[in-house]
């Protein structure tokens, strides 16, 4: 049996450094559990978090390196089920992952090319993505939705 999450917002600021990604993962897991989010939903969101942060480091440009990345975690219970939302805010190159097209999956090893896997994972493991630019920062909101078992 799972229960509905307790509505709450948590925030964290990290440096744009892969060494900080595990800190962010730990924060997300602890925050999700403290809000009553089921572990399998936290797993999905943690994978999305890691992929988005990795994408920022690899493709966000020079501006990413000189500004902290802001993270926010919000859980909510709705009549239609439960949501947990992760907001990632950064000063990198503008990029709307929701509008980016996915490369076709390779049919064999020869066709396999590096890149594009992270975006595919985020799209597959999340239930929604909203991107906007707000006061010069990219803001990506990733939503995970589930229905509590009774």
């Amino acid at each position: 049996m799972t229960i509905a999450p307790r509505p709450c917002t948590l925030s964290l600021e990290i440096d744009p450094d892969p060494q900080q990604f595990r800190r962010a993962s730990g924060w997300l897991r602890a925050g999700g559990l403290s809000q009553g989010v089921p572990e399998e939903q936290i797993d999905r969101l943690e994978l999305c978090l890691n992929e988005v942060l990795a994408n920022l480091i690899e493709h966000g440009g020079d501006a990413v390196a000189s500004h902290p990345i802001q993270l926010e975690l919000r859980a909510s219970a709705l009549p239609s089920g439960c949501d947990i939302q992760l907001v990632v805010s950064d000063r990198g190159e503008p990029f709307n992952p929701g509008q980016a097209s996915l490369r076709a999956l390779p049919g064999n090893l020869e066709q396999a090319r590096p890149g594009g896997l992270g975006l595919r994972l985020v799209k597959a493991f999340s239930d929604g993505m909203v991107y906007r630019v707000l006061e010069g920062r990219n803001e990506l909101t990733i939503t995970i939705h589930w229905t509590p078992r009774s």
Partner: protein
Amino acid sequence: MSDPSTSGTAVSLEHEDLSEELRRIWLGGRMDMIGVGEIELPFTALAASRPVSVLVDLTGVTFLASVGLRCIIQSAKALDLKGGRMALLVGDNPLVRGTLETVGVGEIIPMFSDEAAALQSLSVPAT
């Protein structure tokens, strides 16, 4: 799953040559950017340096990000170019399995959940 900020973060890499033609590599722990950075070079050296059959055992992997997938796929490609081949042994971690399935790894590298079947697939010459 354990809290990555406090425990369970170590990535591990071990190998054993089961015969002249068959090598088994165990990967374990957290294959995120940091973890993959620690094992990428030795893993590639073990997996793709000789034209042999390589079983990559992922049953001990607790977290697999795209950077880990890329490392495995690139090594499989390099091994294939040398005339060897790779198979993956996957455990019951649903997140790791889901990650592999989402990007279609099983379509390009044979993927097994049964150890005997994985080893057998590598013992039969490719046609």
